[in-house]
């Protein structure tokens, strides 16, 4: 029996008075325990390391190339403190604090080290929010995302009722806030899936480290993901299939080739799960179901993809006999259909081909998100392959644990109902080449719980000291790997002061209605005056030649092009353009006599592009 288990057993027999006494540790009366000391040392080392980061020396490997030994030591110390704490009975508040510290140490590095919040798309989302703040309306025809404005509207409500004229102030710490928020529903999911409390804590650590797909910036998907986790957590805990068992035999007109395998799976899932913490009281059921429906409705009006993930998972839980909320999948479909046919018509009427074009192309959609992204310099390729290996290890490890449990006669049906269905999204859409990453993210909670059981078992299989060191080492390696892959794009995704100065110069000096050009989308623009300028290009392909640039210049007024080092690196690393491609275009434009530099600062330049002379091309 492990110390955690021993503590649980002891608690089960202790008197209430004893339990109350144990819940009140004398925080300052006793010397700090090794786990607390290691955690404090980790925080100090991390702070020291962050203060010494020199962003200017970053290589194509991303943020990891400028991290000093202090940061790596910090993760080792925190991993050690966490592993030591897992051996202590009844100190959940310390484990919870350590998990929050991990979130800050992973997600907060760039928030503190970089002069401005990173990632160009986040600035566009600020632009959507600011449009609502300034004008009180959305512009559905401007962008597909504005047809699902729930999250932007909520952001605008928060920012403007907080007295802010822009949502820019929400950008910097959004990833930390979102990842801390994810912990609570993740814990609820963990305790509905696994009885081993140590595994639940390890699962939280794994999730924080393995959530590298960068969907936690200020975005609708980050908010929708929190709501996704809440829906799953409530369904698992409060609508366990045992309270109102539903079997496929209750459904009419279902052919036997469908009903038989479903009935078999439901039979597997109806084993006794009394060892888990499931709330089977039906008193709160109607209230909770109403809340869940409201939450699903919020997701439906906020994000395009997440409702499908919710639908797949809640339907799988019903099919597996692990959810009594049998009508919830239907409610999700109805809500989505209602919004799609009323609220999002502006977009889908003109994009139906785009919407349905990828349907069923599983191979193409998957490769668009995987093979299409591999390439670039050696260092860049190494980081990308590390992403593949890290993700494959998480998913493969989860499958192996599931298979091992199945061989022992206890298939983890509920965990598999969370883990497998999100990958069905790959058959529907490429989602701009990101559907594989999104599927991974939706499957990650279950994968983390499954892999955590294996790590917990490995740590327990040796004596306490060896097991603790082994577990601490694994946790530290996973955290460092997570930081490496999470910030692998940082060399071109970070926003410099010069980048923002160039964009601001345009907003302050260029007449409204002008054409503003960026050779790639990797620019922190459009965070204000969203409808006051004509932004080009609107698609995701970089402008690779001078002719492509000049074709965007109107015949009767100048256009303005913003050129930054980050865009050049973006083109080199993501579009595999030749080294120095943007410098070449800039020089050619100036040599042509059509372009004049009107602003310049540390690698950021604004060019005024004049119309073609009369009779010229």
């Amino acid at each position: 029996m492990t110390p955690v288990d021993a503590g649980s057993a002891a608690r089960a027999t202790a008197s209430p008075q004893v339990r109350v006494a144990r819940r009140r540790p004398a925080l300052f009366a006793a010397p700090p325990r090794p786990s607390s000391s290691a955690t404090l040392a980790a925080i100090a080392a991390w702070w020291w390391g962050v203060a010494r980061i020199d962003l200017s020396s970053m290589s194509d490997a991303g943020l990891v190339s400028v991290l000093g030994w202090q940061i790596f030591a910090a993760f080792a110390l925190l991993g050690l403190g966490f592993a030591l704490e897992l051996n202590e009975p009844r100190r959940r508040y310390v484990l919870a604090a350590q998990t929050v510290v991990l979130v800050v140490m992973v997600q907060g590095i760039t928030a503190l080290a970089e002069p401005h919040p990173a990632y160009f798309t986040a600035y566009l989302h600020v632009g959507f929010i600011n449009e609502i703040i300034e004008n009180g309306h959305t512009v559905p025809e401007l962008d597909a995302r504005f047809n699902w404005p729930g999250s932007f509207a909520f952001g605008a409500l928060i920012a403007s009722s907080g007295g802010a004229s822009s949502a820019l102030s929400l950008l910097r710490w959004a990833p930390v806030v979102f990842n801390v928020a994810y912990l609570a529903p993740l814990w609820m999911i963990g305790r509905s899936l696994v009885a081993d409390e140590r595994a639940r804590w390890i699962a939280l650590w794994l999730f924080v480290a393995a959530n590298w797909v960068h969907q936690d910036y200020l975005s609708p998907q980050a908010e929708a993901y929190f709501l996704y986790l809440v829906v799953i957590a409530v369904v698992l805990r409060h609508f366990d299939g045992r309270t109102r068992p539903w079997t496929i035999s209750e459904a009419r007109f279902v052919p036997s080739f469908v009903s038989r395998p479903v009935a078999w799976v439901q039979g597997l899932g109806r084993h006794d799960s009394s060892h888990l913490d499931l709330q089977t009281s039906t008193d709160d059921g109607p209230f909770l179901l109403r809340v869940v429906v409201l939450v699903v409705a919020t997701v439906v009006v906020s994000h395009q993809l997440t409702p499908f993930a919710i639908l797949l998972v809640v339907a799988a839980l019903v099919m597996a006999g692990r959810s009594s909320a049998v009508h919830l999948p239907v409610v999700v479909v109805v809500l989505f259909a209602m919004w799609f046919s009323v609220g999002a018509t502006t977009w889908w009427i003109s994009h139906l081909g785009e919407l349905l074009g990828d349907f069923g192309k599983v191979g193409d959609n998957a490769s668009a998100g995987l093979l299409g992204r591999l390439g670039g310099t050696d260092l860049r390729a190494a980081v990308l392959w590390l992403r593949v290996a890290f993700s494959a290890a998480m998913l493969g490890g989860a499958m192996l644990v599931a298979l091992r449990q199945a061989r022992r006669g206890a298939p983890p049906i509920a965990a598999l109902a969370l883990f497998v269905p999100p990958f069905a999204l790959i058959g529907g859409q490429s989602y701009g080449g990101e559907v594989l990453l999104r599927s991974y993210l939706f499957a990650l909670p279950a994968a983390a719980v499954l892999v955590a059981q294996a790590l917990s078992r490995v740590a327990r299989s040796r004596n306490t000291r060896v097991g603790t060191v082994l577990l601490a080492s694994m946790l530290a390696v996973v955290a460092v790997a997570g930081v490496t892959v999470r910030f692998g794009n940082e060399r071109f995704e970070q926003v410099t002061t010069a980048d923002l100065a160039a964009v601001d110069w345009v907003y302050d000096n260029v007449p409204h209605g002008s054409v503003v050009i960026a050779p790639t989308r990797n620019l922190p623009w459009r965070y204000r005056d969203l409808t006051s300028f004509r932004y080009e290009p609107v698609d995701e392909q970089p402008l690779e030649t001078v002719d492509e640039v000049l074709a965007l210049v109107p015949g009767d007024s100048p256009a303005f092009m913003i050129v930054t080092d980050a865009q050049q690196r973006f083109g080199e690393q993501l579009a595999f353009l030749p080294e120095g491609w943007l410098d070449s275009i800039t020089e050619e434009l100036i040599d042509s006599g059509r372009a004049t530099p009107v602003f310049g600062q540390d690698g950021a330049v604004v060019l005024r592009l004049d119309p073609a002379p009369a009779g010229g091309s």
Partner: protein, 144 residues
């Protein structure tokens, strides 16, 4: 601290947060921390006020669901203002605070009678131990 006392403190903190947010909005005080207060208000107050009235047996579920419901309420209010072309965020915030407070005041005074009273009191001394039941059986592995 008993669960009922803890509930009182939580309700009191939410009322205080609503009061501060309302005061900042009404006075239109320009202060760096105002955005933070607004974030906390909109993520916690409306939803937690509704969920706490129901008195679920698990504080973690209550707060998590409260945050989710706050997002849902805030999103609904914001979209409604857009739909009717009346963008009045300050009015919305004050309105939400005013609507939430009557749900919270009885909890501070201990005069509310929401569902789950008995269950909460029974679980009084095990407030953070709602998931202890299965720890002894960790060999059972993942739920099936």
């Amino acid at each position: 601290m008993s669960a009922s006392t803890s509930r009182r403190w939580r309700a009191g903190a939410l009322i205080a947060l609503a009061a501060v947010a309302t005061a900042l909005t009404v006075t239109d005080l320009q202060w760096d921390g105002r955005t933070l207060v607004s974030v906390a208000f909109h993520l916690l107050v409306p939803g937690c006020a509704v969920v706490s009235w129901r008195k679920l047996d698990d504080p973690l579920t209550e707060v998590t669901l409260g945050v989710a419901l706050s997002i849902a309420i805030g999103t609904g209010v914001a979209l409604a203002m857009i739909a009717i072309d009346r963008w009045e965020p300050a009015v919305a915030q004050v309105g939400l605070a005013v609507a939430s407070t009557p749900l919270l005041v009885p909890q501070v005074r201990g005069t509310d009678h929401g569902a789950g009273d008995d269950a909460v009191d029974d679980a009084d001394d095990d407030a953070d131990g709602a998931d202890d039941s299965g720890d002894a059986d960790d060999e059972a592995g993942t739920s099936r």
